[in-house]
């Protein structure tokens, strides 16, 4: 899966308009990135990538790129 495909998947999961996010986008600046969005991210990692994402790891994410790296 390419980085762009991952970004699309993240936009879809967080219910953000397609084409809004770039790898440099800071998560703190995304209005939709609340506790439910983070919960959605946990489900995405588990179901689509078979990866266990913990709360601690989520708190360490600063940019979209950090999420992409985790999904690699």
């Amino acid at each position: 899966m390419t980085d762009q495909e991952k970004i699309s998947l993240i936009e879809d999961t967080l219910e953000i308009e397609a084409g809004t996010l770039t790898p440099e986008t800071e998560l703190a600046n995304i209005e939709e990135y609340d506790s439910m969005a983070k919960l959605s991210l946990i489900v995405l990692c588990d179901e689509e990538f078979g990866k266990k994402l913990t709360g601690e790891q989520i708190r360490a994410f600063k940019t979209v790129s950090d999420i992409i790296t985790f999904l690699a």
Binding site: E15, K38, L39, S40, I42, G55
Partner: protein, 245 residues
């Protein structure tokens, strides 16, 4: 409290509150039917409790339609039951956009439909002794909304509502049913839940007496199983360290 000559069915006995309860009733001399869903759970129970004294029951609570046959094959009506405690709790946390109906049905089946099914099986004539006491482990989620816990909360609220109906219905058979409304209790499930917490808000802020211990819930279960609680039925008893106050 004496449990000699008493037969207690504990579902979800391999972990958390159920396991603590099983250890306690074993020490008090009771005989148990110990249930777990997984092979791992059953192995743990067989390794912990004397197989000559206790009986083991393996069944997947997410498939309620299989329960009766599993019970008949593994247990039957050989032992009349004095108490049934259901500690099974399939947890689920996800936002509504990801809450597919398959998952909702799985949670409702495991936590609610199977609870009813076990009660249906155990309250048949000749399956229980006079004074049968049934205890369901519920949750504060059934009373206080939590974002993401929709399916779990609904399943526990359903358990409590059914308990009130059945308390009236089964009173004539001298059967009592109650639920325990648990707050945050320190179990494996709690640790797993804390791992997925994404914000640093204090889970225990509302639960001003702090994190509960399994033994604190076990003590209330023992009370509800015993004769000292004979005037209580259809109730939702809090074990929440003040959460719902």
């Amino acid at each position: 409290m004496n449990f000699e000559n008493k037969v207690i069915v504990i579902c979800g006995a391999s972990k958390g509150i159920g396991f603590n309860l099983a250890q306690t009733i074993d020490a008090l001399g009771g005989t148990m039917v110990l249930h777990a869903s997984s092979d791992e759970g059953i192995q743990k129970l067989k390794g912990t409790f004397e197989p000559n004294k206790h009986v083991f029951f393996q069944a997947n609570f997410a498939e309620p339609t299989q329960l009766e046959q599993a019970w008949q094959e593994q247990i039957g009506s050989a032992q009349k039951v004095d108490g049934f405690v259901n500690c099974v709790g399939l947890r689920s946390r996800r936002p509504i956009n990801l809450l597919k109906s398959e998952l909702v049905l799985e949670v409702l089946s495991a936590n609610f439909v199977s609870h009813l099914e076990m009660i249906r099986i155990l309250t048949k004539k000749n399956f229980y002794n006079t004074g049968l006491s049934i205890v369901g482990i519920s949750s504060i989620a059934a009373h206080s909304g939590g974002a993401g816990v929709t399916a779990y909360a609904a399943s526990k609220a359903a358990m409590e509502a059914a308990t009130r109906c059945l308390a009236k219905e089964l009173h004539k058979k001298e059967i009592r049913l109650n639920t325990i409304v648990c707050g945050q209790i320190h179990t494996e499930a709690y640790d797993a839940f804390m791992e997925t917490k994404t914000d640093s808000d204090q889970v225990l802020e509302r639960q001003f007496m702090g994190l509960g211990k399994p033994q604190e819930v076990t003590d209330i279960i023992l009370f509800l199983l015993g004769n000292q609680s004979r005037f209580i039925t259809g109730a939702s008893i809090p074990a929440d360290g003040g959460y719902l106050v």
